[in-house]
């Protein structure tokens, strides 16, 4: 039994890291722009479909451009739609991004049809390795390593670059950042675009594992919201810890109470919010209270 628990724990961590990648984008968009981006799952789906289309036309390596293209679409959406919502009633942002999510699903269905489209991992990542009781596929190891590298790079970007400092400062007090003469509209566009790029990257990495359908956003958006809530709104470290917790909790529930697997992360969220209403790493920010 211990072997099985260990095996499930490792598997849960891999799933957790994939969730973290999606949730981080949602977290920084909320933290900086104050927008609850209900369309985040739609950008995840856009990333997967772009990967499918690029792979079909130009091969697997071309699919790696999918997240960048998703980020550019995100920048366009921010300029055309999202920026009109800053400082307005938060409900407006929720309604607009919800409508955007529905529209994206309809457009994807129009272009690619409603049926799932096939997409496989490249051949050099096929197969799996076993370390005692632990079984892990080469592709999941690739996802794990890629996610960790990106998270470290992103953390370094936020911690050590001037742009990262502006984002962190802007997430606390955007007005003050604006008064310092920093071009906030460009910063906001960049943040939204990076968030969408991360969602698109999640879509690319999940495409060989999950089913690519226009409605695939649902499989990403709910865990992402749960992770952001558990970790604390806008917290980078919180999202990582919460993502791993959700992944491992889900895997363990499947091992012992499989019929509760779908509800496990919500029960975890409710429990943590009861103990710590701001989430694990949430701080008291006047902006959101």
């Amino acid at each position: 039994m211990f072997d099985m628990i260990l095996s499930q724990a490792v598997n849960g961590l891999v799933l957790g890291f994939l969730y973290v990648l999606i949730a981080i984008g949602l977290s920084i968009i909320f933290g900086m722009l104050g927008i609850v981006n209900f369309a985040h799952g739609a950008f995840f789906a856009i990333g997967a479909y772009l990967a499918f289309a690029l792979n079909k036309e130009f091969g697997w390596w071309a699919a790696l451009a999918a997240p960048v293209l998703t980020g550019l679409i995100g920048a366009f959406v921010e300029v055309v739609l999202i920026r009109h919502l800053y400082g307005k009633e938060p409900l407006l942002g929720l309604i607009l991004t919800f409508a955007l999510a529905l529209l994206t699903e309809a457009v994807l269905r129009l272009i690619f049809g409603g049926a799932p489209v096939p997409f496989a991992a490249p051949k050099f990542l096929a197969g799996f390795v076993e370390y005692g009781a632990i079984l892990i596929t080469k592709y999941r190891m690739f996802v794990l390593i890629t996610t960790v590298v990106i998270l470290v790079l992103f953390w370094a970007f936020l911690a050590y670059t001037p742009y990262g400092r502006i984002i962190r400062a802007g997430s606390r007090d955007p007005e003050m950042v604006g008064l310092l003469g920093i071009n906030l509209p460009i910063v906001f566009t960049g943040v939204f675009s990076i968030g969408c790029l991360l969602a698109g990257l999640g879509g690319l990495l999940a495409a060989p594992l999950w089913t690519i359908t226009p409605s695939m956003a649902a499989g990403a958006i709910m865990p992402a919201f749960v992770i952001v809530t558990i970790g604390g709104l806008g917290s980078f470290l919180g999202a990582i810890v919460a993502g791993l917790l959700v992944g491992v909790t889900t895997a363990m529930t499947i091992q012992f109470q499989p019929e509760w697997a779908g509800a496990a992360m919500y029960i975890l969220m409710a429990t943590i919010l009861l103990i710590r209403p701001r989430g694990l790493f949430g701080e008291r920010w006047e902006r959101f209270e």
Binding site: M4, S7, Q8, N11, G12, V14, L15, L102, E105, R109, G113, G114, A115, P116, V117, P118, F119, A120, A121, G127, F128, L135, T137, Y139, R140, A206, P208, L209, W210, T211, I212, T213, P214, S215, M216, A218, G219, A220, T250, A251, I254, Q255, P258, E259, A261, G262, A263
Partner: protein, 420 residues
């Protein structure tokens, strides 16, 4: 006369020549117009309700079901009983949404019949509205036993064979592979019926269930379930997960190196589920209701498949056929009834027959279940055509007696049919 004219002029009632001419012309025009107005009333379109998912986890199958249904009406030049006919298609995001759509179709759109219910839970919800509103309803995709069992009613007809029938056909195949089964089924009516049917079979035939997991709908990652299956070392895995959930499972089954290691079997699978998996990961032993390349397809089915492919530039999936046949049975019955009166259509549906090879397909009177054969199919060892995955092994049951046995008798079922 002169006095009368004068008197009329005095009272202001005088009608001049121009007025008279205008009045006469108007009267003539209105007389001419009357047949036109009468025809317009007669040409009021007959509305058929269609409830297939436009959002949610079953939407990929629903697209084909809807296209098949629309094709059935187009093949009649959108005409019924000499009047224009149209389909009103509403969404079914969840069981409650399906019920609301059915109520809207009946209350607002005044439809004369309904087709739909992509998932068992949706079909049960629509069926309850059909019963209450007394409107004929054809459930063309749902497989739960309840629909023609304990929840049956006079207005509901079901096209898909129920889970028990699929299980009676596939379970003996699985038992020849091995007696240790692992069940991975969805946590709603369809999956629970599969779990019960296959457990009953293997228990009665000297086998054991070495593991059974109920999986939430929309599970994005099956790797933890697959690790459990791997550890349990079953001879066969029996699946009971639908649509894109099955696609996801098969992709991850292959990814974790399980394809070809432990046989996987599932009933009532659709073409689209496998098309989304891709040739590398496709695997399994299945029952399917129809296959576009089956040489036993009737000329009418072949014509439908050709029309579908021409229109949508892809082969007709089994779901397109189910949507088509479900709608066709309702439209045929309206024509047979020569009326849009619900009770007459229900009686026509009970008498509707469709010749398929050596047997007449139709809805049984005592539970409104359509009886037909099923196909048992594996996957081609090497897939070269991106649409052609199935390797059909048999069309079962073979004889009419065996068909009747597989579908069960009135005494075997839980249906207590009500009256009109």
């Amino acid at each position: 006369m002169t006095e009368q004219t004068k008197s009329g002029a005095a009272t202001g009632l005088r009608i001049g020549r121009r007025g008279l001419l205008l009045g006469a012309t108007s009267l003539a025009a209105s007389r001419l117009g009357m047949p036109y107005i009468g025809n317009a009333a007669a040409a009021e379109p007959i509305k058929i309700g269609m409830i297939w998912a436009k959002t949610g986890s079953i939407v990929d199958q629903a697209e084909y079901l809807a296209q098949g249904g629309m094709l059935a009406l187009e093949q009649r030049n959108n005409t019924l009983l000499g009047r224009p006919a149209e389909i009103v298609w509403l969404d079914e995001p969840n069981p409650q949404g399906a019920q609301q759509s059915a109520e809207r179709l009946v209350g607002e759109q005044k439809v004369v019949g309904m087709v739909g219910g992509a998932l068992s839970s949706f079909a049960l919800a629509i069926s309850s509205v059909a019963k209450k509103a007394k409107i004929p309803y054809v459930a063309a995709n749902a497989a739960t036993g309840d629909l023609t069992g304990k929840s049956c009613n006079k207005y509901t007809f079901r096209l898909q064979p129920p889970v028990d029938v699929h299980a009676r056909i596939l379970a003996p195949y699985c038992a020849t592979i091995g007696k240790k089964w692992y069940l991975l089924t969805a946590s709603y009516a369809f999956g629970q019926d599969i779990k019960r049917a296959f457990t009953d079979y293997i228990s009665a035939n000297g086998g054991t269930v070495v593991g059974a997991d109920e999986v939430p709908v929309g599970t994005p990652d099956y790797s933890s379930f697959i690790l459990k299956i791997r550890a349990a070392k079953p001879d066969v895995v029996i699946g009971g997960i639908a649509a894109s959930d099955l696609t996801t499972f098969l992709k991850q089954w292959n990814e974790l190196g399980m394809k070809g290691k432990i046989p996987f079997a599932e009933i009532s699978v659709g073409n689209t589920d496998l098309w989304g998996v891709g040739p590398e990961a496709a695997d399994g032993l299945y029952t399917i209701t129809w296959w576009y390349k089956n040489p036993n397809n009737t000329p009418e089915e072949q014509a439908m498949a050709a029309a579908y492919e021409k229109k949508y530039n892809r082969p007709a999936a089994d779901k397109a056929w189910m949507g088509w046949l479900g709608m066709k049975s309702l439209l045929d019955s309206i024509d047979m009834a020569k009326s849009t009166e619900p009770g007459t259509i229900v009686q026509a549906l009970e008498n509707w027959k469709y010749q398929r090879g050596d047997m007449d397909i139709g809805y049984r009177g005592f539970d409104h279940q359509m009886t037909s054969r099923l196909l048992v199919a594996g996957i081609h060892p090497k897939i070269t055509d991106k649409w052609d995955y199935f390797d059909v092994k048999a069309e079962l049951p073979k004889t009419p007696d065996d068909i009747a046995k597989a579908f069960g008798s009135q005494a075997d079922g839980a249906c207590k049919m009500d009256t009109l």
